[in-house]
């Protein structure tokens, strides 16, 4: 069997860096367009990447985002160093948000990020340990 070809990209996301928030997800969008993926898929992936990136900026101490492009799927994932989510089911509820005032002033904190990510994904998983950190993986099928 030949080895599967995978293109992968890593992005470091800083806490509270509102100025460049969104630059990792625009890079991801550019890459997926260059790969010739269909527009609806690129759009879903861009929304997922953007929401994940903003969550790292506003809710965590910082973390990393990864993009992997396989011949049959696109995987976007993040991991961070905390603070973790106390009640994941609650966090996944539409409209639930713990965003602080600064984030809200910047227009974030509608509590729709995680539900949107799940809606745009073909496969979605989230693991979080309160006090430690969160790991989220979203997969979109190609073709």
């Amino acid at each position: 069997m030949t080895e599967e070809i995978v293109a992968s990209f890593d992005y470091q996301i800083e806490k509270d860096d509102f100025k460049i928030a969104g630059s990792a997800s625009s890079h991801i969008k550019k890459i997926l367009k260059q790969l010739g993926l269909p527009n609806p898929l690129v759009r879903r992936a861009s929304i997922i990447a953007y929401e994940l990136e903003i969550n790292l900026v506003i809710h965590t101490v910082g973390g990393a985002m990864h993009l992997e492009v396989h011949p049959n799927c696109v995987v976007i994932s993040t991991e961070d160093m905390g603070p973790g989510i106390e009640d994941v089911d609650q966090a996944m509820t539409e409209g639930y948000s713990t965003a602080n005032d600064t984030a809200r002033e910047m227009g974030f904190g509608a509590g729709m990020g995680l539900p949107n990510i799940r809606r745009c994904s073909d496969e979605f998983s989230i693991r979080s340990t309160f006090g430690t950190g969160t790991w989220i993986r979203s997969e979109i099928h190609v073709g």
Binding site: A7, K33, L35, V42, R43, Y50
Partner: protein, 426 residues
């Protein structure tokens, strides 16, 4: 298939290879090869950023000239809506049109006339038709080409009507065929253009099989002569058949289309880089609640077109003055012509340009993407442009596509040289 030819060409005698235009191009269409800027036609959108950024005036626009008047039995001149705004606000429009006809044309027919008709349709379409919101104005060909090149997901948002100049050209042709018994080949339609985008759109049209215009001439090429004629003319000389209505002139300003169409919920964005930023937002679904996007490649709208003479902001003031001063003649036949005129829609599908895609085969595209990342990581990341590509990543892309070599990077080359010296000294 039609050849993808564009109006802007680099002048080898003036280009110094300074890389400014390359850095300003929104589609990364320019490379500097052997000290000379080279435009990739498959990526060019005719936005004029290269012209604007060049300190050496090294870009020429391949366009027509007044000499071509003699090729036709009957000639119509359509001045762009911006035309009148190039003259002081106290100029008399009737007189201006007369001076224009004196260049050798048989009829002056204004682009603004189509605006009269189009503005109400635009509102109706926004209210009634099932087109994805926000609807993007189809007015600026450079914007449409930007969508085709980088934002193909937005093609379905484009307003289905043609732009006023093309509608006007068809109207004028029909008018002369019906009233004067002329055939198509006897009629020459000349357009006085504010921009290369419209020059290209005649030979290489978007959304239509063929343009009804035969010759495009830059406004700046006829300006001096019109001014000369104007200054030698009595005030009593007026063009009776003129149809440049002052109240239509704001169409040439960013925001004018929305204003004149009576659309309230809109964004008027101008300058191609800002347009791209707004398009990014639309793609993310952030502007779904906006009805209309009036996007112009040029800053300030068509008054900012590079083939105009006047500063765009002075031109805007001229427009306001013209509108105040004028109670001007108006083409009488028009209403009847308009009533029967139906050709306002784009007739050809607008399709994506595939120039940004690494490979048709998805697996190969992934492979290439891997190589691009690998090469990019070995480059300095300075985006200095010395290699002739707009960024380190663009060079990596070119290398993978077989269009450049690693040695084009000056730092890499120097490093190689050092390695060689080390080898030799061992």
């Amino acid at each position: 298939m039609r050849k993808d030819v564009h109006a802007v060409k680099v002048r080898a005698d003036r280009c110094t290879g300074c890389t400014r235009c390359m850095q300003s191009c929104p589609t990364e269409a320019i490379r500097v090869k052997a000290g000379l800027a080279v435009i990739n036609a498959a990526r060019c959108i005719d936005c004029s950023q290269c012209i604007e950024s060049c300190p050496y005036d090294a870009h020429s626009v391949i366009s027509g000239s007044l000499d071509e008047i003699k090729k036709y039995k009957y000639t119509i001149v359509i001045p762009a809506i911006t035309f009148a705004s190039q003259f002081p606000g106290d100029v008399k429009i009737d007189k201006l049109c007369f001076a224009l006809r004196k260049l050798g044309f048989d009829l002056v027919f204004s682009e603004g006339l189509a605006v009269d008709y189009l503005k109400d349709r635009i509102r109706e379409i926004i209210v009634n038709e099932q087109i994805k919101k926000p609807i993007i104005s189809s007015h600026c060909p450079a914007v449409i080409r930007l969508i085709q090149t980088k934002y193909s997901s937005l093609i379905g948002h484009i307003m289905p009507t043609g732009s006023p100049v093309d509608i006007a050209a068809n109207m004028a042709r029909n008018l002369c065929k019906e009233n004067l018994g002329l055939t198509d080949s006897e009629i020459g339609v000349f357009y006085l253009s504010p921009c290369p985008a419209r020059v290209t759109n005649v030979t290489n049209p978007i959304g239509m099989q063929e343009s009804a215009i035969n010759v495009t001439i830059p406004i700046k090429d006829v300006y001096a002569e019109v001014l000369r004629t104007l200054s030698g003319m009595e005030d009593s000389f007026v063009e009776l058949g003129n149809c440049m209505k002052p109240e239509n002139l704001p169409w040439a300003e960013s925001g004018g289309q929305a204003l004149m169409s009576g659309v309230d919920n809109y964004i008027a964005v101008s300058g191609i880089h800002e347009v791209a930023k707004v398009f990014d937002r639309i793609e993310m679904g952030e502007l779904d609640d906006v009805d209309f996007i009036e996007a112009s490649s040029c800053i300030g709208g068509c008054v900012g077109g590079p083939l105009n003479i006047e500063n765009p902001f002075v031109a805007q003031r001229n427009i306001r003055k013209l509108a105040e001063n004028s109670t001007q003649g108006y083409f009488q036949m028009i209403d009847s012509v308009l009533a029967q005129f139906k050709h306002i829609y784009l007739t050809e599908e607008i399709s994506p340009r595939q120039t940004n895609i690494l490979d048709e085969d998805f697996t190969k595209a992934i492979e290439k993407m891997k190589q691009i990342e690998e090469i990019t990581s070995r480059l300095r990341g300075l985006d200095c442009g010395s290699c002739g590509a707009p960024s380190c990543r663009a060079l990596a892309e070119d290398i993978v596509q077989g269009k450049a070599r690693m040695e084009d990077c000056v730092f890499y080359k120097e490093q190689q040289h050092l390695w060689r010296l080390e080898d030799e000294s061992e």
